[in-house]
Symmetry: C2
Subunit: 235 residues, 2 copies
């Protein structure tokens, strides 16, 4: 983590759309006052599970994974975050230690807003509270669905669904079929709740079946319908 070599605008001039949008300009500007702009190299940890927060992070660009560590040192990825999204605000609000670790999956520029400013803005803007409630509700909904999936769906379905989630979350490159997000096989397994080997074998199945194509770490979705079928999702 070091200071940013690129010019990062103040919050009020930032082009990223996020929940700050519900705030009047002078309130947004408050958030910028003691903001720090940081650069994180791919793979670098933004905060560790167990550490104590001093504020909240807002991603200017790049992608971040949020994961928890199990007893045997195996990771479980619980969520992702991308441009404009907030990180660590839960722990900052409740004054608890971080319950998960955030790691940059690409080179990232991430701003840090001290929790005092954040709390101040939160207390004075009920719209903003509602937005936070909405974010949390959404995360909770996803987490509980995730629990059901990992608890009951077979690995094959979970890995197929993982690919679909990655597509919906981060989209395709210009070619309309290559996932923009780049993950190791292990990380894909860490999302789906399985091992690297099983992930590899299952991806190979999808390749054989013509659903996807692998090109190094890049994943191309060739047949979305087949993948939907494999994921066994109905909506």
């Amino acid at each position: 983590m070091k200071n940013s070599p690129v010019k990062i605008p103040s919050c009020s001039e930032c082009d990223n759309k996020n929940i700050f949008g519900c705030l009047p300009l002078h309130e947004i500007e408050k958030l910028s006052v003691n903001k720090d702009n940081n650069f994180f190299k791919k793979g670098q940890v933004i905060f560790y599970e167990g550490n104590h927060p001093h504020g909240m992070y807002c991603i200017y660009n790049g992608k971040v994974k949020i994961s928890k560590l199990g007893d045997e040192g195996k990771e479980q990825i619980v969520r992702f975050a991308g441009e404009g999204e907030l990180l660590g605000y839960r722990s900052a609000l409740s004054n608890e230690s971080y319950k998960a670790t955030a790691t940059a999956m690409e080179d990232c520029y991430i701003c840090h807003i001290p929790k005092e400013k954040f709390s101040e803005v939160l207390n004075n803007n009920s719209n903003f509270s509602l937005e936070i409630i909405r974010l949390l509700s959404d995360d909770l909904k996803k987490s509980e669905q995730n629990l059901l999936n990992i608890s009951q769906k077979p690995v094959r379905e979970r890995i197929a669904e993982t690919l679909l989630v990655l597509k919906n979350r981060f989209g395709f490159e210009k070619d309309g079929k290559t996932l923009t997000i780049v993950l190791t096989r292990r990380e894909i397994g860490d999302i789906a709740g399985t091992t690297t080997e099983t992930t590899i074998r299952t991806l190979s199945e999808f390749v054989k079946e013509g659903s996807i194509k692998l090109s190094g770490k890049k994943i191309l979705i060739l047949n979305l319908n087949k993948l939907l079928l494999a994921a066994n999702v109905h909506d």
Copy 2:
């Protein structure tokens, strides 16, 4: 569900402690205005996954399970709620359908507050918003931990932890060792994310080891330390 044969007080006179406590009395009273008091018999469903909410429930007494249904009809219990706790407020706030089903685990008296009143109070009381944020944060934290457990811990540890969670959540009877909550073996499995048979076999193990005693559906915790050890929890 029928009208209550017992006298249920208005919200401002209710002895249950919950997040309404942060509101001034006249705001609490607002919640009561169009409140309905309902009785649910053990096993009755309070709301179904997929239905649309018209408000929020507040448990006057009794215990409720919140669960989701998997593809093969298998249930996953995601949460419990007891006296004073709120149900269904997430869906009410986001105007989405319920994402889980709530079922009475005992005979329950549960009040229903129309969502308009709830929203009104929420908009006018930033403290109240903060409390809701706190509730959601806490649920999310637990859900993500649960995900990690189900994804990575062996069944034996999960079932031991389930018993511990039930103890912490609902406590013991006067004897100081019998869990107050009564569940079927299947339901215990539905929490831990396993089958009825595996649950039974694992509970038998704990009995053999002297950690617990089974007496019909009642579960007595005889040796908490042994159970903690089996659950492999460190905090």
